[in-house]
C-alpha cells in the first residue's frame, strides 16, 4: 500500500463525507422547516415532501463518485497519481457540500412559503432545484477526470 493509494482513499472518503454532510445539513434545515409548517397544517405533508428531500441528491452523487473513484484505486499508485485522484474527486466534494447546504436553506424558505400559500408548492421546487445544477457540474467533471 503506497502513499499514493492512501492519498487516493482519503480523497474519496473526503468526497463522500463532504457530500453526505452537505445533504445531511440541507435535510436538517428542510426537515425542521417542514415540522413547523406541518405543525400548523398537517394536510400540507405531500406539498412539502419533495421540497424536504431536494438536498438529498448531493449525498447520492458523492456516493456515485465514491464508487467510481474506488475502482480507480491501485495499491501501487504513486503519490502523484494519488493526488491526481484526490483532485479529481474534489469538484464533487466541494460542490456537493456547498450546494447541499445552500439548497437546504433555499428549500426551507420555500417550505415556509408553501406554509403560507399552498398553491406555490409546485412552482417553488424550481428555485432550489437550480442550485443542484452546480452539483451536477461537479459530478460531471469528477466522472470525467476520475
Amino acid at each position: 500500500m503506497t502513499t499514493g493509494y492512501i492519498i487516493g482513499i482519503i480523497g474519496i472518503a473526503v468526497c463522500v463525507l463532504a457530500c453526505g454532510i452537505g445533504s445531511a445539513f440541507g435535510l436538517y434545515k428542510t426537515g425542521s422547516a417542514a415540522a413547523g409548517v406541518l405543525g400548523e397544517d398537517p394536510k400540507k405533508f405531500g406539498k412539502v415532501l419533495v421540497l424536504v428531500l431536494l438536498p438529498a441528491t448531493q449525498g447520492i452523487y458523492g456516493f456515485i463518485i465514491g464508487i467510481i473513484g474506488s475502482s480507480s484505486l491501485i495499491e501501487t499508485m504513486t503519490s502523484a497519481q494519488g493526488w491526481a485522484l484526490f483532485g479529481a474527486v474534489m469538484p464533487m466534494a466541494v460542490s456537493g457540500l456547498i450546494t447541499g447546504i445552500l439548497q437546504g436553506k433555499s428549500s426551507a424558505n420555500c417550505i415556509y412559503a408553501v406554509g403560507k400559500q399552498e398553491s406555490l408548492g409546485g412552482k417553488l421546487i424550481i428555485y432550489p432545484a437550480m442550485i443542484e445544477f452546480y452539483a451536477i457540474l461537479g459530478l460531471i467533471i469528477s466522472i470525467m477526470i476520475v
Binding site: 405531500g46 415532501l49 419533495v50 441528491t57 447520492i60 456515485i64 409546485g122 443542484e132 451536477i136 466522472i143
Partner: protein
C-alpha cells in the same frame, strides 16, 4: 386515461324543498355545488352553522376518545367487532340518523360527562400520588406532624438532603441547646426532628437554610403513619372510581355504530349549511349551481325529479373562462398513481391527464431502483395484500397499490440484473455489472448502468415533450404541438441516438452522426420557431432562450443519475448482507455454512432483518426520488396542474360508507 367532462347544473326550487333536493343530490355522489354566478334580483343565502359545528365537534371529540379505548379493550379481550372500522350503511339508514338525534345527543352528553369526570379524577389521582411520594418518608414517623412549641423551646420536623447530613451534624455541634434526631431516611432524604432553645433558634434556622432543610409540608393533625395510610386509601378509592367510570365508558361500545352514523350525518348537515353560502335566494325560492359529471347526468335528473315536482333545472356546458373541478377516470391500476400527482398538484380540468404515462415511468423507475427479484416479489405480495384488505380508497391503499405494481417491475429488473437478495442465481446476466461495469463514452470510462439510467431518463424527457405536443393539439394549437413539443421530442431522440452512438462498446458510430443531425436540426427548428408569436426583437431573444434551454435539458438528464445511485446503494447493501451469510464476503466463511449453530442462527436473523431494513430504506428513497423525477423533470415539460379535485356533496364521510343502489 381522461379528465371526465363536466356539465353545469342550474337549478331553481322552492326554499322548503332545499333539504330534500340536497339529500337527493348527495345520494347520487355526483354533484359539487359551486358559487352561484347570479347576483341580480337575488340575495345570498346564509345559514347559522355555529350550533351545528359545536354539536359535530362534541360528537367527534367523544368518538376520538371512545374508539381507541374500545379498540384496546377488544384487543385485550380478543373480541371481534365490525363496528370499529368503517360502517357500511344504506342511504335510508343514513338519512334516518336524524330521527336518532335526541338519543345520540344524550349519549354524547353522557359520554362527555363521564370523560370530564374521569379527567378530574385522574388529575386528583396525580395530585394524591405526589403527596404519597412526599409523605412516604413521614410514614415511619409515629409522632404528630404538628409538634407544638413551648415557651422556651421550638420544635421542627422536616427533611434534608442525605448528602448534607454530615455537614449539618458538623455545624449543629456549634449550636448550643440544640437537640436533633434522624427519624427515617429514603434514597435521597433524611427525616429529622429538632428541638432547640429559643435563644439558639435563629442560628439553627441559618444552618438549616444552608443545608436545604424543608419543613414538613403537612399540616394534618395526625401521625405520619396515619397520614400516609389515609393517602394510600384515598388513592385506592380514586383508582376504583376511575375503573368504574372506564367500565361505564366501555359500555358505550354498543352505541358506536349509531354514534358514527350520527357524527357523519351531522357532518353532512354542516356541509349542507356551509354550501348554502354558495347559493342564492329570492323570497320563496333558492338558486343552486353545481358541477355534475356528464355521465352522471341521468342519475342526477332522476334524483331531482324524485325529490320534488316543483323545480326547474337545466344542464349546460361550462364556459371557457370557468374551471370546473377535475374528476379523473382511470383504470384500477393507474388510479393508485393519481395520489402521486395530487401530492404535487392536481390535474387541471382543461389539460391532459398524465397519470397513465407517469404510472408507467414511476413503476419502471421504482423497479429499477429496487432491482431485485425477491424484493420485487415481497413488494407485490405485501402491497397486494394491503391493497385487497382495504375496502376504502385511502392513501394507504393507493400507496400499497403503487408498491405492488412497482414490485412487478422490480422483479423484471431483478432478472435483468440477475439479483436475488443481492446474489446471482442465473447463469447469465443481461445488464452490465452495476458496480464495476464501464462503458467508454468518447474515451471516458463511465459506469454502464449510469449511462443506461440516463438513457432511460432521456426516454422520459422525450415522452414529456410528446405529452406537451398532445396537450397543444387538444387545445387546437397544431403549430405549438409541432414546434414546442415534437421538435424537442425529436431533439431528445437525436440526443439519445448520439449518446448510444458515442458509447464505443455498442459499436454503432454511425448512430452518433445520425443522432447529431437529428438533434441539431430539431434544435434549429425549435430556435427558429420559439419566437413565432413575438415581434422582431422578441424572436431573437426567444430563439436564444430556446438554445439556452439545452443547458436545462442536460441538467435534467444528469438528474437521472440518482436512479443509478439509489439502485447501487441498495444492491451493495444486499450483496454485503448475503455475502456475510450465504456466499462469503471478502474471503470470509459464510455464516450459514460455518457449521456453528450460533452463527447459523445469527445468519438467518441477519438475512431477515438486514434485507427487511434494506427493502424499507430502499423503498422510502425510491418513492421520494422517483416522485421528484416525475414532478421536476417529467412534469416540468408540459404540466400545469393547479386543478381542484371533484368533491361531490356528502362525500366527506369519516366513519361510514354508503351502499348506494336503486333499492336503498
Amino acid at each position: 386515461m381522461a379528465v371526465v367532462e363536466m356539465s353545469k347544473l342550474n337549478l331553481i326550487a322552492m326554499s322548503y324543498d332545499r333539504d330534500k333536493i340536497l339529500n337527493a343530490l348527495q345520494r347520487t355522489q355526483a354533484t359539487e355545488i359551486k358559487l352561484h354566478s347570479e347576483t341580480e334580483y337575488t340575495a345570498p343565502l346564509t345559514e347559522d352553522t355555529e350550533a351545528l359545528s359545536e354539536r359535530l365537534t362534541r360528537g367527534e371529540t367523544a368518538l376520538e376518545v371512545l374508539l381507541p379505548r374500545i379498540e384496546t379493550y377488544y384487543k385485550a379481550n380478543k373480541i371481534k367487532s365490525d363496528n370499529l372500522g368503517e360502517v357500511e350503511i344504506s342511504y335510508h339508514e343514513f338519512i334516518g340518523a336524524g330521527d336518532n338525534a335526541q338519543k345520540c345527543e344524550k349519549l354524547i352528553e353522557q359520554l362527555n360527562t363521564l370523560l370530564d369526570k374521569e379527567r378530574e379524577l385522574k388529575a386528583e389521582l396525580a395530585s394524591v400520588e405526589r403527596l404519597i411520594s412526599s409523605a412516604e418518608i413521614y410514614s415511619h414517623f409515629s409522632g404528630s406532624l404538628r409538634p407544638e412549641n413551648t415557651a422556651h423551646t421550638a420544635l421542627r420536623l422536616g427533611t434534608l438532603p442525605s448528602q448534607q447530613k454530615d455537614a449539618f451534624c458538623a455545624q449543629a455541634e456549634n449550636i448550643p441547646l440544640l437537640s436533633f434526631r434522624f427519624m427515617a431516611s429514603d434514597s435521597d432524604s433524611e427525616l429529622i426532628m429538632l428541638a432547640v432553645h429559643r435563644a439558639s433558634e435563629s442560628d439553627m434556622n441559618d444552618v438549616l437554610q444552608g443545608v436545604g432543610f424543608a419543613s414538613c409540608p403537612f399540616a394534618d393533625d395526625c401521625t405520619g403513619e396515619e397520614l400516609y395510610n389515609s393517602l394510600k386509601e384515598k388513592k385506592r378509592e380514586i383508582t376504583k372510581n376511575i375503573e368504574k367510570i372506564n367500565s361505564e365508558i366501555l359500555s358505550f361500545d354498543k352505541h358506536i355504530k349509531d354514534l358514527k352514523i350520527y357524527c357523519d350525518f351531522l357532518g353532512f348537515g354542516l356541509e349542507k349549511a356551509t354550501s348554502a353560502e354558495k347559493m342564492r335566494k329570492t323570497a320563496a325560492t333558492f338558486l343552486l349551481e353545481a358541477y355534475v359529471p356528464e355521465e352522471a347526468q341521468p342519475d342526477v335528473e332522476r334524483a331531482i325529479d324524485g325529490a320534488t315536482d316543483t323545480v326547474w333545472y337545466k344542464f349546460s356546458q361550462p364556459s371557457e373562462d370557468e374551471t370546473p373541478p377535475t374528476l379523473l377516470k382511470n383504470n384500477k391500476v393507474v388510479k393508485n398513481f393519481e395520489a402521486v400527482t395530487d401530492m404535487y398538484s392536481p390535474v387541471n380540468y382543461r389539460e391532459f391527464d398524465p397519470n397513465t404515462v407517469m404510472a408507467f415511468f414511476y413503476s419502471l423507475f421504482l423497479g429499477f431502483i429496487m432491482g431485485d427479484v425477491i424484493y420485487g416479489l415481497l413488494m407485490t405480495a405485501f402491497g397486494g395484500f394491503i391493497y385487497l384488505r382495504q375496502k376504502r380508497e385511502t392513501g394507504m391503499k393507493k400507496l400499497a397499490g403503487v408498491f405492488a405494481i412497482g414490485g412487478i417491475f422490480a422483479v423484471f429488473w431483478g432478472f435483468l440484473f440477475n439479483s436475488f437478495l443481492g446474489m446471482n442465481a442465473l447463469p447469465y446476466t443481461v445488464m452490465p455489472d452495476a458496480k464495476d461495469g464501464r462503458y467508454s463514452l468518447m474515451g471516458i470510462k463511465i459506469p454502464s448502468v449510469l449511462v443506461i439510467s440516463m438513457l432511460i431518463g432521456m426516454v422520459q424527457l422525450c415522452a414529456g415533450y410528446v405529452c406537451r405536443a398532445v396537450q397543444c393539439w387538444r387545445r387546437g394549437d397544431i403549430r405549438g404541438g409541432i414546434f414546442d413539443g415534437m421538435s424537442w421530442a425529436c431533439f431528445m431522440v437525436g440526443l439519445m441516438l448520439a449518446a448510444v452512438g458515442l458509447v464505443e462498446d455498442f459499436s454503432i458510430p454511425s448512430l452518433a452522426i445520425a443522432g447529431g443531425i437529428v438533434a441539431g436540426a430539431s434544435l434549429l427548428l425549435a430556435m427558429l420557431t420559439a419566437g413565432r408569436k413575438e415581434k422582431f426583437f422578441g424572436k431573437f431573444t426567444k430563439g436564444f432562450g430556446a438554445a439556452y434551454g439545452v443547458i436545462n435539458v442536460v441538467s435534467d438528464i444528469l438528474s437521472y443519475a440518482r436512479l443509478y445511485g439509489l439502485m447501487l446503494s441498495g444492491a451493495v447493501i444486499a450483496q454485503i448482507i448475503s455475502g456475510f451469510v450465504v456466499t462469503g464476503y471478502n474471503g470470509s466463511s459464510p455464516f450459514l455454512f460455518s457449521g456453528n449453530a450460533g452463527l447459523i442462527i445469527l445468519g438467518v436473523f441477519l438475512m431477515i432483518v438486514g434485507h427487511a431494513f434494506n427493502l424499507a430504506i430502499g423503498l422510502l428513497g425510491a418513492y421520494i426520488h422517483d416522485a421528484r423525477l416525475q414532478y421536476v423533470e417529467f412534469y416540468g415539460r408540459f404540466y400545469e396542474g393547479e386543478g381542484e379535485l371533484f368533491r361531490p356533496l356528502g362525500s366527506d364521510m369519516k366513519h361510514t360508507r354508503l351502499e348506494l343502489s336503486e333499492t336503498n
